[in-house]
Symmetry: C2
Subunit: 337 residues, 2 copies
């Protein structure tokens, strides 16, 4: 299952043999010792309810509380090795936490730019890692403007959450590790479902599954259907975002690099509404005893939809993170208590 099929090396950026099946699987081994090998959680209860076998890649148990630590470590490692004076990144939260933690490990200063409505838990975690937080606007373009200023004014190196090849490859290692673990457990996936914000998880999953005959399905909130819009338009387009509890999936546009890497490979996209995200969050909490953030619940909600079609029996789900406000969890549980 892990044997190479890497004749399809993608070369959309300079020197990007990195952006390949081999690049992702090599990176998996390279980052392993600095990361948690998160468990793949199986739940008989959940499987019975769902009518499929779910393989939950529990990156909510990852360092920094999300799979974004993977790409951040690879990207910061490269910059630290080339004499960077510090890093800057914009993010809705998890990429920022990850960059802050990775920068601290390499002794680099870090500035993170978040939306003004970022989850307070995420802001706290970034500051806990010793990094500087700036909050700017609520949409991607506003954060990018601040990042551009900081790059010019302070000579910082940007770690873009969607355009940086190390980040995309690093995020792909989560799916690569999932495949490795499912294989070791004697299983084989029919499909893998990943949440879609800026698209790095999706692009990474497309690279990691190449040649395995596994459907790759993106799940996004109906409130911010950036992948649906991009696939329809044939290129990344900016959508008009409506409010969503999935704060990690608020980017209103798919990144160009993830789009280029994924659009021919991705099997489909599932849009899920807010009720389905909330229900999936409750379901995995009570039935699989994992606290996940709404972005991860979006992937699970997508997997439930795929399971209901009966077309996939073994479904991998990238449980992308677990950084969620306690008050939101309480409110979601109260709705059903």
């Amino acid at each position: 299952m892990m044997s190479g099929t890497g004749t399809n090396t993608v070369s959309v950026v300079d020197g990007s043999s990195l952006l390949s099946y081999e690049g992702v699987h090599d990176a998996r081994l390279r980052v392993a010792e600095r990361l948690v090998q998160t468990p793949v959680v199986r739940s008989e209860e959940l499987d019975r309810l769902v009518g499929a076998r779910l393989w939950l890649k529990a990156e909510n148990l990852q360092r920094g509380g999300s799979f974004k630590m993977r790409g951040a470590l690879l990207a910061v490692e490269r910059l630290a090795g080339s004499g960077s004076r510090g890093v800057v990144a914009q993010s809705t939260g998890n990429h920022a936490i990850a960059v802050a933690m990775a920068a601290a490990e390499y002794g680099l200063p870090a500035v993170l730019v978040l939306p003004t409505d970022a989850a307070p838990t995420k802001v706290r975690r970034i500051r806990d890692a010793g990094a500087e937080v700036l909050q700017a606007g609520t949409v991607l373009a506003e954060r990018i403007a601040v990042v551009d200023e900081l790059k010019a004014a302070r000579g910082l190196d940007e770690i873009d959450p969607y355009q940086n090849p190390d980040v995309v490859v690093g995020q792909g290692t989560a799916t690569a590790e999932l495949l490795h673990q499912v294989h070791a457990a004697g299983g084989a996936l029919d499909a893998v479902v990943v949440p879609v914000g800026g698209g790095s998880a999706l692009a990474g999953a497309c690279l990691a599954t190449r040649g395995h005959g596994i459907d790759v399905i993106g799940a996004e909130p109906a409130a911010v259907p950036a992948l649906t819009a991009a696939l329809r338009a044939g290129e990344p387009v900016t959508v008009d975002p409506r409010p969503t509890i999935a704060d990690g999936l608020r980017p209103d546009r798919i990144g160009r690099l993830p789009y280029d890497l994924a659009h021919q490979t991705v099997t489909g996209v599932v849009t899920v509404d807010e009720d389905a995200i909330a229900e999936a969050l409750r379901l995995i909490l009570i039935r699989a005893r994992l606290l996940v953030e709404p972005a991860a619940a979006t992937a699970l909600a997508g997997a439930l939809r795929i399971a209901a079609t009966g077309r996939a029996r073994d479904i991998g789900v990238l449980i992308s993170g677990g950084n969620v406000e306690p008050s939101l969890v309480a409110a979601l549980l109260d709705q059903r208590s």
Copy 2:
């Protein structure tokens, strides 16, 4: 670390070479394929807050939602092999879920006797497994009376949660597996903290750690200090239980077999109040992203107290289960939101 030190074989029941270090470690391998090898979860965030290294044995991710599946499988296997017509057990919940699931796997009918105030989630899970539920009184003696009636009237075999050697050995495999996993990760425990209800986890942990030089510490709710009372009296005594959210730790008396196996080995007992249990449940949920039941939170609360003394750096915690009412979780989160 796993080398035998088994000269201390305990023989408190007939033919009980089973009740030994080797018995527990052999049983670990025997039940492994029918169980989840639950992960040992590490959390940098939690460790930083606590000032120790916690190794959380996440049996909330076990089949049936608790470590009780371990003992139930071993006990039911033996009974099924000797021609049993069916099984009966009393329990505050998790042992009953486990016996119901194990009996179903071996095609045996099962009747489970729970208190009238048992957690509804637990009652539902037992019925989901196809077993019969009877609810009787709120204290141990009332349930035992019903079990005795059923044994006589229906010819059922009892699987006592505290007195059955297979159960005690099975529960011990959770600690045995924890030691194995910590060793494989290059670590070594100074102490292991287990929750104490009827005492099977404690007795199992005492067997599993024999010769390792690891402190074994029981954690119990201050509301039901049955182990504290037993150690003081020099024998199991019945305490007058006050209300506790730790429904799994309501037995008002330590079992004779667990007491005999543990009382000379156990390093100490920590009693924790209701606020500490609630705070520990919130802490592991938000910081380690694991949903645990209050019994497991009691063990964590005990570990926090041990960590605060500075006398143990690497502390294993038996996160015994995750069967908790959603409404209780919501209420606990609301208290702090």
